[in-house]
C-alpha cells in the first residue's frame, strides 16, 4: 500500500482490507501517535463536506501531522480558472499526501495520475468514497467479530447511494448474504446484481422494511432523497416507508447493529438512538481510526 493512492474501493484486495482494519484497531487502542511529525498533509475540498474533512483532519492531528488546504472551491485558485492538474501539481510540491474531495466524478483518479505524492479520495461526486467504505467494514468487523458469512440488509436509496455500492464490492470478498430493501424507483442497479451473480453471492430484493431485517446482522440505512424522484407524488408515497423505529427492532437478532453513513434526516427515528443496536455515531468515530490507518499505511509508517 506504501505510496499507492486510494481512489476506489476496488484498489485494495481482501488482504489489504484486513491489514488496514488491523492497524485501525491499533489506533483505536492508542489514538495519539506522533508518527506523522514533520509531515504535511493537504486537504483539498473543492466542495464542502464538514463531516469528512473534520474526520480526516482529526486523524492527521492525532498522528502529529500538519494540515494545509482549503475547505471549498471558492477559497482556492480554481475560481481564477486554474485547472485541477495545475492545482494538484502545485500542491504536490508542498505536501507528502493529498486528501481530496471534488464534485466531478473521476477527478480523484485523474489527480492521482498527475500528483507526485499519493492521493486519498475523500469523495468524487457520486462515484467513490473509499474511506467511508473502510470505516463501514471496520464497524462491521468490530461489532460482529468477523466480516465472514454475515447477512447485511441495505435500506433506502440503493440506486444512487454510493456507500451501499462500495460496501457490496468490499463485502463480496467475505461471502455475505444481502437483502436489498427499497422502493421500485430506487432499486439496486442491474450492474451490481450481475456482479453478485457472477460471484455466486446470495441476495434478495424487498419493498417492505418490516420483517425483512429479522435475520440480519447488519442493517445499513440510507437516506431517500426527494431530489431523486422525477415525480413528487412518488416521493410522497415512499418517504415514510423506510423509517426505522424502536418497535421494528423487536425480534431482530441480538448481535444486530444499525449503520448509517450520516447525515440522517428522518429515516431513523430518534427513539432508536438509545437502543444498544444503534451504532451510527460510534461508526463515525471509527472513521477517525480507519483514516489514521489508511494514512499511516500509505505513508509507509505502519
Amino acid at each position: 500500500m506504501k505510496n499507492r493512492s486510494l481512489i476506489s474501493i476496488d484498489d485494495y484486495t481482501r488482504e489489504e482490507y484486513l491489514e488496514v482494519l488491523e492497524v485501525a484497531a491499533e489506533f483505536e487502542k492508542k489514538p495519539v501517535q506522533d508518527i506523522l511529525k514533520g509531515m504535511v498533509v493537504a486537504t483539498l475540498f473543492f466542495e464542502p463536506s464538514t463531516r469528512t474533512r473534520l474526520s480526516f483532519e482529526s486523524a492527521v492531528n492525532r498522528l502529529g501531522g500538519k494540515i494545509i488546504g482549503f475547505t471549498d472551491a471558492a477559497s482556492s485558485s480554481t475560481t481564477k480558472g486554474e485547472s485541477l492538474k495545475d492545482t494538484i501539481l502545485t500542491v504536490s510540491n508542498y505536501s507528502d499526501l493529498i486528501i481530496m474531495r471534488h464534485p466531478l466524478e473521476g477527478s480523484a483518479r485523474y489527480a492521482s495520475e498527475v500528483a507526485t505524492v499519493p492521493v486519498i479520495n475523500a469523495g468524487d461526486g457520486a462515484n467513490q468514497h473509499p474511506t467511508q467504505c473502510m470505516l463501514d467494514l471496520y464497524s462491521i468487523q468490530k461489532t460482529q467479530g468477523t466480516l465472514d458469512n454475515l447477512t447485511v440488509s441495505m435500506v433506502g436509496d440503493l440506486k444512487y447511494g454510493r456507500t451501499v455500492h462500495s460496501l457490496i464490492m468490499a463485502m463480496s470478498h467475505f461471502n455475505p448474504t444481502f437483502k436489498f430493501i427499497s422502493p421500485d424507483e430506487l432499486k439496486m442497479p442491474d450492474e451490481y446484481k450481475l456482479f453478485l451473480d457472477s460471484k455466486g453471492i446470495k441476495y434478495e430484493e424487498h419493498i417492505e422494511l418490516g420483517e425483512n431485517i429479522s435475520d440480519s446482522d447488519i442493517v445499513y440505512m440510507t437516506r431517500v432523497q426527494r431530489e431523486r424522484f422525477a415525480d413528487p407524488l412518488e416521493y410522497e408515497k415512499v418517504k415514510n416507508v423506510y423509517i426505522l423505529n424502536k418497535e421494528m427492532l423487536v425480534g431482530t437478532k441480538e448481535n444486530m447493529k444499525i449503520l448509517h453513513p450520516l447525515p440522517r434526516v428522518n429515516e431513523i427515528n430518534e427513539d432508536v438512538d438509545d437502543n444498544s443496536k444503534a451504532y451510527y455515531f460510534p461508526q463515525a468515530l471509527n472513521g477517525v481510526f480507519t483514516r489514521q490507518a489508511i494514512i499511516a499505511k500509505i505513508l509507509g509508517l505502519k
Binding site: S83, L104, E105, G106, R109, Y110
Partner: protein
C-alpha cells in the same frame, strides 16, 4: 447503364478496402481513422448499400494505404463486423477482421456529463467490457459505462 453500376465503386490497384461498416457509422469510422486529414491518398466512400448482415452498409476504399492492426482495431467500437481487404495489384491478397481492443484511449467520449473528462483537458481512457457482442466502455475515471448506442468520438 450496366457500365455505370460497375463504375459506382471503382477498383483500386493497391490499398485497403474496408467493408461491412454499418451505414450510420461511416463518418465515425472516417473520424477515428483520421481519414478526413489525409490529403494525398485517393479515397472512395460509399454508403447505404444493401447488406444482408447489416441492413445498410458503407464501404471505404483507400489507395496506397495499409493499416497497422492497432490502428484498425480502433474502429471495432463502431464497426465490429468490418472486414479489411488488402489489395495489391488489383488482387485481394489478405482479408482481415477487426478485433475489439482491451483499452480505448483518446477515441471515445464518456457519456457521463459529470465525468472529469468532460470538464477538463483529460485524455479519455476506457476499459472494454464485452457483453453479449455489444461493446461497452467503462471509464477509467468516473467508472461509469458508456454503451454502444451512446458512443461519441472525441474530436
Amino acid at each position: 447503364m450496366k457500365e455505370q453500376k460497375v463504375l459506382s465503386v471503382s477498383a483500386i490497384e493497391n490499398g485497403t478496402v474496408i467493408d461491412h461498416i454499418p451505414a450510420m457509422n461511416l463518418f465515425k469510422v472516417i473520424s477515428i481513422l483520421n481519414l478526413d486529414t489525409i490529403t494525398k491518398n485517393r479515397m472512395t466512400f460509399g454508403t447505404n448499400f444493401r447488406s444482408q448482415q447489416l441492413g445498410q452498409k458503407a464501404i471505404i476504399k483507400i489507395s496506397g494505404k495499409f493499416f497497422e492492426d492497432i490502428e484498425i482495431d480502433k474502429i471495432a467500437l463502431v464497426a465490429p463486423n468490418a472486414k479489411l481487404n488488402i489489395i495489391k495489384d488489383y488482387e485481394v491478397v489478405e482479408k482481415r477482421a477487426v478485433n475489439v481492443p482491451d483499452k480505448i484511449i483518446a477515441i471515445a467520449k464518456c457519456m457521463n456529463p459529470k465525468c472529469i473528462t468532460n470538464h477538463q483537458q483529460v485524455t479519455t481512457r476506457f476499459t472494454v467490457i464485452n457483453d453479449n457482442k455489444k461493446v461497452n466502455l467503462k471509464c477509467n475515471y468516473c467508472e461509469k459505462i458508456t454503451d454502444q448506442e451512446h458512443l461519441e468520438i472525441v474530436k
